[in-house]
């Protein structure tokens, strides 16, 4: 599949390798995600959803198997290349917004560009303002995260994830600690950006209602894909 944004083959992950408490949490995952695909990752607690997402997001390295992103086998990449690839091609949205408290909403959204290009510039600021406008927070651009509500914080986090127009958005329970109404808003936002930019989205959620609104649902049970439809 040439338009696969990510491709996993026989991917495994074990913790505490070589110790008596060694535990394999992912057992041979085969999965691929195409450009523009909007997929939900569901499964019981402890099934390995976050682990899988972190591996795909290049925050953790798999123990075995293959992971390609944009056609490149990540096993062949150096630490520096991995970091650069993560910054440029992947946008994260976490359950707890994980915004930088010392920076304003605008600066948080600019941060991926600041990191990628070494310093803030006008383009980064313009893009960030545009994104904040799109998530309906233009008026709050100069507020610190602590001055925003939970839903607003999560919207800033989404704007930040989109700052560099990544090909892949990974969201780990982005609506996990929001009320249903706000959760719907956030979900709709992700969906909208997915349509606009044709980025692939993989969203971990416990909410079957939201999962049902995705193009595809991947169900993980005990470190194995139990269903993919």
């Amino acid at each position: 599949m040439s338009d696969a944004v990510i491709e996993l083959a026989g991917l495994t992950k074990a913790y505490n390798v070589g110790t008596p408490v060694e535990a394999e949490v992912l057992h041979g995952i085969d999965l691929s995600l195409a450009q523009g695909e909007f997929a939900a990752l569901i499964g019981p607690s402890g099934s390995g959803k976050s682990t899988l997402l972190n591996i795909i997001g290049l925050l953790e390295r798999p123990t075995g198997g293959r992971l390609s992103i944009g056609g490149r086998d990540t096993a062949e990449l150096s630490e520096a290349e991995i970091t650069a690839l993560r910054g440029r091609s992947i946008g994260f949205v976490f359950q707890f917004h994980h915004l930088l408290p010392a920076f304003s909403a605008l600066e948080n959204v600019m941060m991926p560009a600041i990191i990628a290009r070494g310093a803030p510039d006008d383009e980064a600021e313009a893009t960030a303002l545009q994104l904040l406008d799109a998530v309906g927070l233009k008026a709050h651009a100069h507020k610190k995260p602590a001055e925003l509500s939970g839903g607003q914080q999560q919207r800033v986090a989404i704007a930040r994830a989109l700052a560099l127009r990544p090909r892949l958005i990974l969201a780990d329970e982005p609506t996990g600690n929001l009320d249903t109404h706000t959760a719907d808003d956030i979900f709709a936002l992700l969906r909208e950006f997915n349509r606009q930019t044709d980025c692939a989205c993989l969203i971990v959620t416990h909410d079957p209602r939201l999962a049902a609104r995705c193009d595809r649902t991947i169900r993980l049970v005990d470190g194995r894909i139990a269903a993919d439809c």
Partner: protein, 406 residues
């Protein structure tokens, strides 16, 4: 246009601003440390310079003399106790002193050479009679050895014909005033009637009582040393080069060459000890400041674990995180050194107003040499960087996942 800092300084500054109390604490520690070091260094340097200045105010940096004649055994009877009889040191001239003076003047680091003929004499006035040291000099050249003009209380420091310059104590003892006559008598029977053209007070009673300056030719004829000089006095550019220059001259001339550093060995040893203890204090203060910066940054790294993880997730490399924390250390050091120098300046002002010499003049000047501030800034920034190294490496090594999972 707003100022746009690059990533690492931008984040470093925000982190410092965010950890307000901690930042204030390490900044206060660094400021205090720098202030102590700058204050102590400035104070000790000044006081030492004053002491050396005072000592060298009345003596040449280097003196060239003829070789001393060796002492001889009085008699060679093995049965009797050996009696060493110090040989009376006859007044002798430095052989070919003119060429030696030229040689010395040409030596790098030597700024002035002055020939002196000196010997014991009596100053006689009426019934009074004082033992003095007759000094035949060329006033113009001698002035570059001892700044006599600064010590004159009456008349000028100039000798000509039979005009002489004497010290204030001798003048008092013999009841002499400017333009009075004074007879000098020598052990060899010669004598001369001098006219006092100047009276000095060099700050040393003994010298004020003993020194009688006359012209070089008059000194030579009175002391039976026609055309000769008993020593050559030298001034050098850097006083602490005096010993090296003396050794070089000794090698070149084979004469006795003494530097002020030899004649004042005890004083120098005391100054060195003071410098050593000052260095010890400085090292401890630097160590304490470094530990303070390091420990606060270590805590900050732990507190910022989550932020570090977020930055890494957004593509920040380990090197970038390392820089963020190194810059924090350097910034604390740099700002602390500026504040510390200001504080030291304040302390110097305060202490110089409080501590005064007997005559009411300040014991030391309330000034700060720019090179100390520059040095302090460099050292403090370096120490800040070095102390940030361990925390920064910890931060760079941190696993971004752990931060994000929690």
């Amino acid at each position: 246009m707003k100022l746009r800092l690059p990533f690492a300084p931008l984040v470093a500054l925000r982190f410092l601003r965010e950890g307000r109390m901690q930042t204030l604490l390490i900044l206060a520690g660094t400021t205090g440390g720098v202030a102590v070091i700058v204050f102590l260094t400035q104070l000790i340097t000044q006081l030492q310079a004053q002491i050396v200045d005072r000592v060298l105010g009345t003596q040449p940096h280097v003196v060239i003399r003829p070789l001393e004649e060796a002492n001889r055994r009085a008699f060679d009877d093995p049965a009797s106790a050996v009696v060493i009889e110090p040989r009376a040191q006859r007044l002798r001239s430095v052989d070919q002193w003119e060429s030696i003076a030229r040689l010395a003047a040409a030596m790098p680091g030597v700024t002035a050479v002055s020939p002196t003929v000196t010997g014991p004499a009596f100053a006689v006035r009426g019934q009074a009679n004082k033992s003095v040291a007759l000094m035949g000099i060329d006033a113009e050249r001698y002035r570059r050895i001892v700044r006599m003009e600064e010590y004159m209380v009456a008349g000028r420091f100039a000798v000509d014909g039979t005009r002489a310059v004497i010290g204030s104590e001798l003048a008092k003892d013999l009841g002499i005033r400017l333009e009075d006559k004074l007879r000098v008598a020598l052990p060899n029977g010669r004598d001369e009637l001098l006219q006092v053209g100047g009276i000095f007070d060099i700050g040393n009673k003994d010298l004020n009582r003993r020194w009688v300056f006359v012209t070089l030719p008059l000194g030579q004829s009175l002391l039976d040393l026609p055309g000769g000089v008993s020593n050559l006095d030298l001034t050098v550019a850097d006083i602490f080069d005096a010993q090296a220059i003396a050794e070089r001259l000794q090698g070149a001339t084979g004469l006795t060459v003494d530097s002020w550093m030899q004649t004042n060995a005890q004083l120098l040893a005391a100054l060195r000890n003071q410098t050593v203890s000052n260095n010890l204090i400085r090292s401890f203060v630097i160590l304490i400041v470094a530990l303070g910066i390091a420990s606060v940054l270590v805590v900050s790294v732990v507190q910022k674990q989550k932020e570090i993880g977020i930055l890494r997730a957004m593509g920040a490399s380990r090197a970038m995180i390392l820089q963020v924390f190194l810059i924090q250390g350097a910034l604390v050091g740099a700002v602390g050194s500026i504040l510390g120098s200001l504080l030291a300046f304040g302390l110097l002002n305060m202490f110089s107003a409080i501590y005064r010499n007997a005559d009411g003049s300040p014991l030391f000047a309330a000034e700060l040499e720019p090179r100390f501030i520059v040095l302090a800034a460099l050292v403090a920034t370096g120490v800040g960087l070095a102390s940030a190294l361990i925390p920064a490496r910890r931060a760079a090594k941190m696993d971004p996942v752990q931060a994000i999972r929690s």
